[in-house]
Each structure stands twice: as C-alpha cells, then as structure tokens.
C-alpha cells in the first residue's frame, strides 16, 4: 500500500503554492511515497511519556527595549523588488479572486 497518493501530492503542491506539471507530480508521488515510508519508522519508538523538543537548547523569549533605531531606507528595502510603484512593492491583484 502506498503511503501517499498522487492526488494527495497534487493537494500538497497546491497548499505549497507550487504549480507542478503532470510529469513532476508523477515523479514526486513515487519519491515522496518512498521517503514517507522510510521516515514513518519514527512510529516504532515507544515515546508516549517523552516530551517533544521543538528546539535543541532550552530557550525563553528574548526581549529588547522598544527603541527607534536606524533601519533600511525605502530604496534599500525596494532594491530587490520585482516591481515597484510610488515607493511601494507592486504586486499582482489580490482582491476579487474566486475562492
């Protein structure tokens, strides 16, 4: 039995905002099935009472004083933008899309 179907991979691609071709979907479906089959081995570990670690070291939130500091100029911030208009990032339409 496969761990993941081609339809599920197509769904993941949509969630991931990746416009994949049919060939890519076929290829990735096979490879992801292999990978998921292999990583599923973590289930063999008896770990019911083990707390999860999201991080290697114990961390607490780090705060700093809320002070005004020098930051990027508009020119610097926009320097890598694909499109700029009136000192702003120009983007394709985001309103009026169908759900």
């Amino acid at each position: 039995m496969s761990a993941i179907t081609r339809d599920e991979v197509a769904h993941l691609a949509r969630l991931s905002r990746l416009a994949l071709s049919d060939d890519e979907l076929d290829h990735f479906a096979t490879q992801l099935d292999d990978i998921i089959g292999a990583v599923a081995r973590v289930a063999e570990v008896a770990a019911e009472d083990v707390p999860p670690s999201s991080h290697a070291l114990p961390l607490t939130n780090v705060f700093r004083a809320d002070e005004v500091r020098p930051s990027l100029t508009p020119e610097q911030a926009l320097s890598g933008a694909p499109a700029v208009e009136d000192d702003r990032f120009r983007v394709p339409r985001i309103l009026g899309e169908e759900a």
Binding site: I4, E8, V9, L12, A13, R14, L15, S16, R17, L18, A19, L20, E24, H27, F28, Q31, L32, D34, I35, I36, A38, V39, A40, R41, V42, A43, E44, V45, A47, V50, P51, P52, S53, S54, H55, A56, L57, L59, N61, V62, R64, L72, Q76, A77, S79, G80, A81, P82, A83, F89, V91, P92, R93, I94, E97
Partner: protein, 496 residues
C-alpha cells in the same frame, strides 16, 4: 612554499610582520582560482576588483597603526547563503539569481571587522539542502581529489575551495552535516559549533532549529581561529547563546588527549559502512589509545531513529521558512502578465525558481505538519529528538567526547545518487544526531580509504558548549597523524 600553500595562521603572521601584504596574498589566491576554478567549480561569484580593494583597505588600516586580529588580511571564501551587500547572494537557487541583499549577515560583518578578505561566494546545494552540491541551480562542485566525484554538501563549494588551495579558510553552515560531510570527503577540517554559538542573522534560513554556521580550514588551529573570529552572542539572533565563546584556539594549540575518556558510538558501524572508512577509523581509535586516551564503546540506541526524525523536522521547518519566497518583495517573479492573480504568480514563480529537492522538502514538510498526520510524524519526531538528546546526556556522563566516522563512505561519483533522495540522505547518517541535540562536532582527516584512495573523516563530538574539546582532541590526532604521514593529508592529493 607559495602563499596559497600556507596556513591561515602563518599568512596572518606574515602580513602582520610586513613580510607580505594582504594585497599580495589576495592576488596569489585570485591567480590560483583563475588556474583551477574551471575544473573545481567551487565559486558562484568571484570579483577580483572588490577582493583587492578589501585587501588594500586592510593594508591601509595596518599602516595607520590599527590593532588587527590574527586573521587580518587573510582571504576567505564565503558560502553563498550568508547575505553580503557587495556580492550577490543566491543560496544556490534560481529564485534568488542576481539578488543583492540590502544588509550583511552578522557573520559577514564580523569577518569584515576582523579584516578577512572575501575572495567570493561559494557553491552549495540549493538553500543548503543536500549532500553533494548537485542540487545547486548552477551546477555541481567537483572534488579536488577526483574531479568526477562530489565534494560533499551542502557546503561543497566552501570545502572544495579550501582543499584546492583556492582559499585558506571558508565559511559553511551545518544543518544535518553540511560542514562535516564535505570536510570529510575533501580531506580538510570542518566544525559545527554548538547551536546558538554562531549567529544565524543574515543566514538564509533552511531549518532554523538546526542551522549552525561554522568554519572550514586545512588544519585544526586555522579552523579554531576562524571560529573565534565570527562567534559569540548576537542580539540580532534570538536563539544566540549568551555565553563566552569556548576557548577553541587555546585548545587547538594545546592538543592533548592524555587521560581523556573517549566513547565509540556502537550504532555507527556495520551495514552501509565502507570497509576502508572503518579501517581508518579503527586505526585512529588505536592511535588515541596510544596517546593516552581511555577508549570505551557505548550505545546510543535512539540514534537509529535520528535520520527519519530529521527528515520530518527539517522539511517541516523548510515548508514554513521557504514561504517567504513569494515573488512579491524580492527575487524571481514569473507570469505577472496582468491577467494572473498574486497567488497564481506565486505558484508559477516557486515552480520555476525552486529545484526538485527543495520542492520535495516543502511538500514533505507540508504533509508532516498537516492535521491528521501531525502527531504521527512531526510530533513523534520531536519526541525522538528528546530521546537523542538524552542519549548524548547519558554518554557524556561516561566520556568526555564521542567519536565516529564522519560519513559512512568516501566521496561518491557525481550523478550516482542525484535522483535517489533516500540514498543521498544516508550520507548524513553519523552527523545528524548532533544537529538534533545542538551540541558541537568536528570532522578532521584521518587517512585515505584503501579501495579508492579518497579521504576519510573522523568525527569528534562534544557536549553543548564543549566546542574546545573537539579542537583539543582534533589537534592531538592531527599532530600524531602528520608525524606518521610526514606531512598533511592534502600533500597526497593529485595535482590539479
């Protein structure tokens, strides 16, 4: 001996004493790059004018009487995943082709302040995801020992540049072995510091809870000097440790293992391990015993599950981190013809701009984090991560450092594993547990495998903030091996 053959420490001394200049040293390395780069392909960007201008500035600072550090004027190759205002930063991806960042990474800034001279930016697997640099959008780097083989990855360009004498030093990042594995397969030294010991600010994120910048060099002391030059607390990185940098250069100068307790990790041997790799490893164990160390074998049972846990945790973080490449604020934008929505442009851009491994990991992470699968995959992997940290903790109650081969095999041929992700992932089998637990580990050369005459790496693993132990043991082994070989390992490498 030509300037390109010298160690970084020696170059620093020669420049400080005025016997040579930063400009002369930079020019010698630029010439070397010109002569071998066509074969090695370690660099994505070299700009001689910028390099020489930096070198001149260091010579001027020195002439003006400024006190400079031990590496002032020494050239360095910089992994192309750290932002640099005066050089493009691509992360090996089409999506960032020709991108000029508006700010320097903390590590970039600290290297500038220490007077290091950038030779250029080095090749890597796209977004540092891979073990061979074959995932670079700009073509693979070639191993200076055998140009048909991989130089390791993801920091393969940085390792190859140092092994090919194009640079005495380079930077890398290690998320699952991306410094130690390339160092091992190219016969040089590579160190993964304690997580949080070196800043991630301005490092393009792959897996934020694992990513660790570190140094490459041709010997242990040089690596320690570079480690000291860029490490230490950074207020711009919220996961940076507020602790002094361990005394790594001092440890590298001392190099001593007498009375030290050393553990051999039982899980890192057996099927899949190349006989020539294991033979050099066993010899090194005997060498350590002859130097006065007490070696014991011990078991870290959870390490068997480190690889699967890593390939759930790292991709999960990838799926989140790489969402920032949205075609809106910087980088590539495809298909914006006035008829398409932002979301369509985003999906077309990401499909065109990311390579196959990055796409695989984004989708794998999206899967592992999705409701219904989260507990079984990401949640369970996080528990395994706890168990791996506990295995290390128990081991370090018994011994001072742990050792293993750095990689199960020597450098494999370019193309052999390129479209077989699971085979590629095995290259990091021995290095991944350290990333999951956040502690320190180094790889140093320990000989050539009999089957293929290719370099073998010894991994030395220390507890969190015990980075100096890696250098102390590494320097002792290095000195004993150099005595045995009558020189360093790279002197056995074929001429390019």
């Amino acid at each position: 001996m030509s300037l390109t053959q010298k160690s970084a420490a020696e170059l620093g001394r020669l420049i400080a004493s005025g016997e040579t200049s930063a400009v002369e040293v930079a020019q010698a390395h630029l010439d070397r790059i010109t002569s071998v780069e066509g074969k090695v392909k370690a660099f994505l960007h070299v700009d001689a004018e910028t390099t020489l201008a930096q070198a001149r500035a260091v010579d001027e600072r020195r002439a003006a009487g400024e006190e400079l550090g031990p590496l002032a004027g020494v050239p360095i190759a910089h992994k192309d995943v750290f932002t640099t205002v005066d050089m493009p930063t691509t992360a090996g991806s089409r999506i960032l082709e020709n991108w000029r960042p508006p700010y320097d990474a903390t590590i970039t800034r600290r290297l500038r302040e220490a007077g290091l001279v950038f030779l250029g930016k080095t090749n890597l697997d796209e977004f540092a995801m891979g073990s061979s640099t074959e995932n670079s959008a700009y073509g693979p780097t070639h191993n200076p020992w055998d140009l048909t083989r991989i130089a390791g990855g993801s920091s393969g360009g940085s390792a190859a540049a140092v092994a090919a004498f194009e640079a005495p030093l380079s930077t890398g990042t290690d998320t699952g072995g991306s410094i130690r594995q390339p160092a091992a397969v190219t016969g040089i030294v590579g160190m993964k510091p304690t997580y949080g010991g070196s800043s991630r600010y301005g490092l393009i994120a792959f897996a934020s809870s694992l990513d660790t910048p570190g140094p490459f060099a041709r010997n242990v002391l040089d690596a320690a000097l570079l480690h000291e030059a860029f490490s230490g607390h950074d207020p711009y990185d919220s996961t940076s440790i507020e602790a002094p940098v361990p005394p790594v250069a001092e440890a590298a100068r001392q190099g001593d293992v007498a009375g030290l307790r050393i553990g051999v990790i039982k899980e890192f041997s057996g099927e899949g391990y190349q006989p020539g790799v294991m033979a050099r490893f066993r010899e090194t164990v005997e060498l350590l015993e002859s130097l006065g160390a007490k070696v014991v074998e011990l078991s870290c049972p959870s390490f068997t599950y480190a690889l699967p846990a890593y390939y759930l945790i790292a991709p999960s973080e990838v799926s989140s981190n790489l969402a920032r490449f949205d075609a809106m604020r910087y980088g590539l934008r495809v298909g914006d013809d006035g008829t398409r929505s932002a979301e369509e442009v985003m999906a077309l851009t990401r499909a065109a701009g990311f390579g196959p491994e990055v796409k695989r990991r984004i989708m794998l992470g999206t899967y592992a984090l999705s409701s219904g699968y989260y507990d079984a995959y990401y949640g369970q992997a996080q528990k395994v991560r706890t168990l791996i940290a506990r295995d290390f903790e128990a081991a370090f109650h018994q011994v001072d450092v742990l050792i293993s081969p750095t990689t199960p095999t020597t450098a494999f041929p370019i193309g052999e594993r390129a479209d077989d992700p699971m085979a590629m992932y095995l290259a990091d089998l021995c290095t991944i547990p350290t990333n999951l637990a956040g502690n320190a580990a180094i790889s140093i050369p320990c000989g050539l495998a009999d089957e293929d005459d290719l370099p073998v790496g010894l991994q030395i693993i220390a507890p969190v903030l015990g980075d100096d132990r890696c250098y102390r043991v590494g320097a002792a082994v290095e000195r004993a091996l150099h005595d045995r070989w009558g020189g360093d390992l790279l002197s056995k490498a074929p001429a390019l």
